[in-house]
């Protein structure tokens, strides 16, 4: 699946997108955040406070207990500050 990162999540990880294949045990957004956080220092820094991270699956906002099965694109970003 394709992952996209925005704002300070993107800056901390050091890339705006990548393709990953998490193991089958990773089934929800929350578990994906935990799996990503364990990938290295930059990821651990980006996901150090999981409750503030917002997520979207295929361009729609989702809660962290949402299943990731079938997702083509998952995005992680901080709370939005547009307008």
């Amino acid at each position: 699946m394709k992952l996209k990162y925005f704002a300070w999540v993107r800056e901390r990880i050091g890339k705006s997108e990548e393709t990953v294949e998490p193991p089958p045990s990773v089934q929800t957004i929350e578990e994906l955040i935990g799996w990503l956080a364990a990938r290295g220092e930059t990821y651990a820094h980006a996901f150090e406070t999981p409750r503030v991270i917002r997520a979207a699956i295929d361009h729609a906002h989702v809660k962290q207990d949402t299943a990731i099965a079938g997702a083509r694109e998952i995005a992680f970003f901080p709370p939005m500050t547009g307008g």
Binding site: F6, A7, A60, H61, A75, M80, T81, G82, G83
Partner: protein
Amino acid sequence: MTANVTIRIQQSDFDVAQEIAALTEGRSDVGAVVSFTGICRGSEDGAAIAALTLEHYPGMAEAEITRHAETAMSRWELSGIRVIHRVGRITPGENIVLVVTGSKHRHAAFEAAEFLMDYLKANAPFWKRVDGADGTDWIEARDHDETAARRWTKS
């Protein structure tokens, strides 16, 4: 009423008068137009800023604004909606965002414009970074923006 919905995300500035005219031109069923313009301030939390840089999630930003525009069209009797959100570097005094709503009567136009702005601030995937004297920093989301969006879910 024929709906006239336009949503644009762009780097360039917009002309408020031209956008308002686009909602009323050639029709005589529009009795009220409300426009809201969000403008870049020269300071953030008391500190002077040089500029804001707006980042967005292409594809999702358009989808979210369209979804909220559709909700507004179904909730109020509107003749049209125009939403323009700028991205990239914006300096103090420059326009950031525009919401224009047209209707037969003022209440629908006022309420729909406020609804769209409240939802856009809390749910549309845009992020502001401040370019200040001490480097750059991301603006933090304010709780009252989410509270403002939530009040529209009470019926």
